[in-house]
């Protein structure tokens, strides 16, 4: 488990323990929840176009942990909401600071060229993806491939959802969760 730290202003062991304890009595499950919350917070800051989503996420978690160590108790079964509220406030602080410093929040200059992934990396990623796909149960593999298949993709997905007898949004969520497992697998594969 990562421990959020920013500018050397990390958590004390007590704060860290208070955080874990509130996430789940079982440490392993608490660790899973921590990772899930962290991942979702990073996405939230990314969607808000913050320059340092990971730093802001760590700071959010640190603040939550400190409040928990001070005795704040979460009564909701979904603790992510609490972190999200802190993230919301932190985002506003960050925005005000950026405005004060007259920084532009846009993440640098974008150019299409920056998206051109080197062919070698691209091939390696594809190779990793193939390997990870082969580890999936066949039905999941076929589902995610079929979802991405075809030229008229929108019609393709509509057909898929009709065949499966589930609403399109349920199909999207199902495919996305399979894809997320694959993303983790591909990242691991690329590191080796």
């Amino acid at each position: 488990m990562k421990r959020g730290k920013k500018d050397g202003n990390g958590l004390t062991p007590e704060e860290f323990e208070a955080l874990l304890k509130q996430l789940h009595p079982d440490r392993e499950k608490a660790a899973e929840r921590y990772e899930d919350i962290r991942r979702r917070l990073i996405r939230l800051f990314e969607w808000r176009r913050c320059a340092s989503p990971e730093d802001l996420t760590d700071e959010t978690i640190n603040r939550a942990a400190r409040r928990m160590a001070e005795g704040v108790e979460l009564r909701s079964s979904e603790p992510y909401g609490y972190f999200c509220g802190i993230a919301h406030l932190l985002y506003k602080e960050d925005l005000r600071r950026a405005i004060r410093e007259q920084k532009v929040l846009e993440i640098g200059e974008w150019s299409p060229a920056s998206l051109e992934v080197e062919e070698e990396t691209s091939d390696r990623r594809l190779e990793c993806l193939r390997r990870c796909l082969s580890l999936l149960p066949p039905d999941q593999r076929d589902l995610v491939l079929r979802y991405h298949q075809g030229e008229n993709n929108i019609r393709n997905r509509k057909t898929l959802s009709e065949q499966m007898g589930i609403p399109m949004n349920a199909l999207r969520i199902r495919v996305h969760r399979i894809r997320r497992k694959l993303e983790d697998c591909v990242q691991d594969c690329l590191k080796h």
Binding site: I42, E46, W47, R48, R49, P53, L74, R75, S76, S77, Y80, G81, Y82, C84, G85, I86, H88, I107, W110, P112, S114, L115, V117, T121, S122, L126, L129, L133, P137, P138, D139, Q140, D142, L143, V144, L145, R146, Y147, H148, Q149, G150, N153, S161, E162, Q163, M164, G165, I166, P167, M168, N169, A170, R172, I173, R174, H176, R179, R180, E183, V186
Partner: protein
């Protein structure tokens, strides 16, 4: 509960979990029902992801994202769809540039886009992908229908009952109920009643599955018994989610005059499975009129899925009505009650898809 729980003054109360889950969910559901048809999801999330919503709209949406994991995953899924469409050249040049600039300019975004491109490449390496999904209901497969027809004639003549087991064969790993052919499959799995295996004498295997040479023949033995035919049952598998899918297509249950009971299989794959038991209410979607309530249901493993099973007498259902199933995990003593989750289906007159 205040009419608008999302105002700042109530934020802290909400964040500290001082609203009951019922209080939180009710306005959430109203919000979702009002906004989350398929088209609305696309539009709302597209505008959110591309930074086109007002700050107030962003705040409101993010509060919902903070509470609802399904909704959060849906936002990520829409993001991935936009990136995939950008890669496939399905967007107008201006839109494509906006999508890439907004969603694929950070290092993480670039990595995400690269992976989506890999998905598109992998998916189109071969144009035909075997798509087993959840296999067609056993009784709907063409060769089985033939066998059932013969068996049905035998029933009339001899009073024997052919035991057709659940679709637990090797090809049925997926929770998706879909035929192998191009015709959309009904999620409904009609079947003749199961017999108690213990009571059934061992017989030579002659079931449709064995005729077709499927694996695990020992699980599909024909079990002639001397009892008369029992009423027709149907099995309907439903995905359970944290929110209601307003506007999307829902599973349909064809109601035929001879149908006596329906086995609702509530797929709990993506739900909290920690509660020891669950309370389930079946009610009409519009009027919320309770039809059936069961407490203490336990999770079961069927067809490699984790499900709750609810038996519903067919006479309690009316064609042309939409139904909702509310699933509530029962928390252990002292623990926080998990949020409820939902599934829905529509009953149609028999013969409709």
């Amino acid at each position: 509960m205040n009419e608008n729980p999302w105002k700042d003054e109530l934020l802290e109360r909400y964040l500290l979990g001082e609203f009951s889950q019922e209080e939180v969910n009710e306005p959430l559901e109203r919000y979702l029902l009002g906004r989350f048809s398929q088209e609305r999801v696309d539009e709302l999330f597209r505008r959110y992801l591309l930074g086109e919503l007002s700050q107030e709209e962003v705040d409101e949406l993010e509060l919902h994202l903070s509470m609802n994991k399904d909704l959060f995953d849906l936002a990520e899924a829409v993001e991935a769809d936009l990136l995939a469409a950008a890669d496939r050249g399905e967007l107008a040049p201006e839109e494509r540039e906006r999508v890439l600039k907004r969603l694929a300019s950070s290092p993480q975004g670039q990595e995400r886009f690269a992976l989506i491109r890999a998905f598109n490449r992998a998916a189109n390496e071969k144009n035909v992908v075997r798509f087993p999904g959840r296999r067609a209901p056993l009784a709907q497969r063409p060769f089985v229908q033939g066998v059932i027809a013969v068996a049905a004639s035998l029933l009339v003549v001899t009073g024997l009952l052919v035991f057709i087991p659940d679709d637990q064969d090797a090809g049925g790993e997926s929770p998706i109920d879909i035929s192998n052919g191009s015709t959309p499959a009904s999620p409904v799995q009609p079947k003749v009643p199961e017999r108690t295996p213990v009571a059934a004498p061992a017989q030579p295997a002659t079931t449709p599955e064995q005729v077709a040479g499927d694996k695990k023949p020992e699980e599909h033995k024909e079990q002639p018994v001397t009892k008369p035919a029992e009423p027709i049952r149907a099995v309907l598998s439903l995905a359970v989610t944290n929110f209601r899918e307003a506007g999307g297509e829902v599973d349909k249950l064809p109601l035929t005059p001879d149908l006596e009971s329906v086995e609702l299989r509530l797929d709990m794959e993506y739900q909290d499975q920690s509660p020891e038991s669950f309370d389930v209410i079946l009610r009409t979607k519009e009027e919320q009129e309770p039809i059936l309530q069961k407490s203490g249901l336990k999770l079961r493993q069927l067809d490699k899925e984790t499900v709750l099973v609810l038996e519903v007498p067919a006479r309690t259902l009316t064609a042309g009505t939409s139904y909702e199933v509310r699933v509530q995990g029962v928390a252990a003593e002292g623990a926080t009650e998990p949020p409820p989750s939902f599934a829905e289906f529509e009953v149609v007159t028999g013969g409709q898809p």
